[in-house]
Amino acid sequence: MTDVEAPATGSLLKIQGLTKYFGTFAACSGIDLAIQPGEIHALLGENGAGKSTLVKMLFGVLQPSEGRILWDGRPVSIGSPGEARQLGIGMVFQHFSLFEALTVAENIALSMDPKIPLAKIAEEAASLSKAYGLPLDPNAHVADLSVGERQRIEIVRALLQNPKLIILDEPTSVLTPQEADKLFETLFKLRSEGRSVLYISHRLEEVQRICDRATVLRHGKVTGACDPKGETPASLARMMVGSDVASVHREAAANLGDVLIDVVNLSVPARTPFAVTLREIGLQVRAGEVMAIAGVAGNGQGELFDALSGEYPVADAEAIRLRGKPVGRTGINGRRLLGAGFVPEERHGHAAVSDMSLSDNLLLSRSQSDRAAFLTGGFAAIIRHDVIRSAAKRICQVMDVRKSGEDPAAGSLSGGNLQKFIIGRELDRQPSVLVVNQPTWGVDAGAASRIRQSLIDLARAGSAVIVISQDLDEIFEVATNIAVISEGRLSKPYPAAELTLERIGLLMGGIHDSTGHAGSPTAPHAGGVHAH
């Protein structure tokens, strides 16, 4: 990495030692950052790296615990978004707060001075959007607009305040590639006018393409400041995921058994314009093996999970085999009946119903696979609350779930405890195949290590486990073998002991070996028996 030191004077925005504590947890710790006039500055980092916390402090939504912010060389305190706008900072949020039933002009008018007549706002918005290549009809209803057009409203709304710095939070995560290209043209135009852009992203390719400088965050600290054009995707990825991987304490993996889940040549077209197309994925996981799937977010992890779990069955039944049986077209419950268990990424609303009790959530996921135990009365399917409650209690004991009350609502648990319950709910069945997506996302360290240990234990007991994760620490902690997903393609699996960070960084950056993927399953026992 080439360190380009920003000149001390002339910075539009300079941050020194900015720190934000939530309780004792430092979401941002001693962050230094300088943004020059007329530059597009990337803020790179994985989920949870502290990017959002940092920009919220810059936009006055959060107040820093320590450190200072210099605007045009003068120290400032930004108490509210209104004060940020007064200084000349505009922000485009990732999730829009637009009114669908109202027109574009009406939406903009709601956040403007009520004295300005609507017709004038419409006129200004139209001319501004035209000037920046963001065509918008001020009289169109938001309901009729695409996501990209909705984002333009937010950008135009920010531009109407004539800002010197515009912060964009993951703007392309909701855009199609064509819409993203248009957005980049607008950003270049802003830069040519001397405005600065702080561009938050975890997409390396984009950052390399459009940004002049990049600051990389990891675990709330700056791990690098560089000119992204002078870096490789691998070196950027390494800065993002870090090189301080904890030493792995794990006993030798047991001998691996039969292939329990076998994915051959799995291709799934993208369901929405924002989804990733899965291409010719091949994957075999044996009894006793933890297969970790690494990758930068948004490269097809969610789509792969959906295909493996049967949430969205795939066209080719033979593409996925569970314990020898073709299940590609089988739904979740059919796969569960074959002994598989699944834990999706989102805890609330996907893995659990927040307003329902733990025992109800247990019944919801296992009403088919544990029908004999949980339901009685045959066709009438009467719920056996006593059995289910004692099962929920057992899960809580085994997984050390801290909760208030006997059978509280899922939403009342902390993220870590709910995640322990959700994982425990599957482990309780002793599934022969377990697929988990981001098992410890946003979970405290104690719960995370409890969950990781239980995944290792499950594999040791003879199950096949697939862990999809963006956390390399986690991957090296649990994995027997590691495959990397990038742009919907899965690399061949590598024994965790043999894979270097350099290599995994290259794979995450999308550089595959010619012999690697293309659906060729690994040779029997390849890598699997390597001990650490």
């Binding site: 707060s97 669908e100 009406e106 009520p114 609507l118 209803h141």
Partner: protein
């Protein structure tokens, strides 16, 4: 003959239009008040009492408006401050209104009331046919027209109306923009109550100038249906109100002429038409999104 029929249609349509335009504003702010029938009957009994006790029918109109608004305040307190279920509370309001009005009006039963006198526009009222229809009406008719035009202007031309629509569309986003959701909703609910009260006053002071228990006879429900029929657009309330009013009157005439359609069939027509309209508008996702308040009936609790 035709003039006489048209006059009765106007008289029948006016309370529907007034009650519906009030409920439209309430619903545009995202509050579903099913208690229109109850607020209307409270307006009717208050209006009759006001007119009878003061001897001035115009005070009766004011009493009706006040009675409806105060009664809706109860609904507002329950649903907005105590965050009770809007549907259940609205139904309870109707039942309470029907019972309470019967109690309050017990001593008025059988007393002949004073009819609200028409306001006659000189010259204009002498135009043949149109004159007596449009320019020799009582104040409630003129108010109904003014309300439709005024509400239409308020909702789609004024900044306050824009805020009200924003609240109905997404109260969370509106709150984030610094708009006072609860206060605006209180005012919208009370405007709906005042309109329902005025509609009730029209019934007991113009339509049949006397007090009869349950004299609203389901008109509150027709007004509710009318709001949906109009897909939350004020000018369509006016059109729909006259269609619904005409159906009700023609049904009486059809009976008199011995037309072989059962009267029950004609009385259900407004509801049947509303169901058809509902099917049509929900078929088109776009019109639904743009006109139906997305937060309709959803409780709002700030800071959660």
């Amino acid at each position: 003959m035709i003039e006489a029929i048209l006059l009765t249609i106007i008289t029948a349509a006016t309370p529907l239009v007034i009650a519906a335009i009030g409920e439209l504003v309430t619903e545009r702010a995202g509050v579903l008040n099913l208690g229109v029938e109850g607020m209307m009957i409270m307006g009717a009994v208050c209006a009759f009492a006001g007119s009878y006790l003061t001897g001035v029918p115009l005070f009766g109109v004011l009493a009706g408006i006040l009675g409806g608004a105060l009664f809706s305040l109860l609904f507002g307190f329950l649903t907005l401050t105590l965050v009770t279920n809007q549907v259940a509370t609205g139904l309870a309001l109707t039942l309470l209104g029907l019972g309470l009005s019967g109690q309050l009006g017990e001593s008025f039963v059988g007393i002949p009331g004073v009819k609200l006198s028409p306001i006659v526009f000189p010259v204009l009222s002498d135009i043949p046919f149109i004159g007596p229809l449009l320019f020799r009406q009582d104040i409630t008719f003129y108010l109904s027209i003014a309300l439709v035009i005024g509400v239409n202007w308020f909702l789609f031309r004024s900044r306050t109306g824009l805020k009200l629509r924003a609240i109905g569309d997404s109260h969370g986003s509106a709150h984030a923009l610094g708009i006072n959701v609860i206060r605006t909703r209180y005012l919208a609910v009370m405007f709906g109550g005042a309109c329902a009260g005025l509609a009730g006053a029209q019934l007991s002071l113009v339509y049949t100038p006397q007090w009869v228990e349950n004299m609203t006879a389901g008109r509150g429900w027709i007004a509710l249906a009318l709001v949906v029929f109009a897909s939350w657009r004020p000018l369509r309330v006016l059109i729909g109100g006259y269609i619904f009013g005409a159906v009700g009157i023609l049904q009486l005439h059809a009976q008199a002429f011995g037309v072989g359609i059962p009267s029950q069939f004609l009385s259900m027509l407004p509801y049947a038409v509303t169901i058809v309209v509902l099917i049509i508008i929900s078929h088109n996702r776009r019109t639904t999104l743009i006109n139906t308040p997305a937060c309709l009936g959803k409780p709002f609790v700030p800071d959660r």
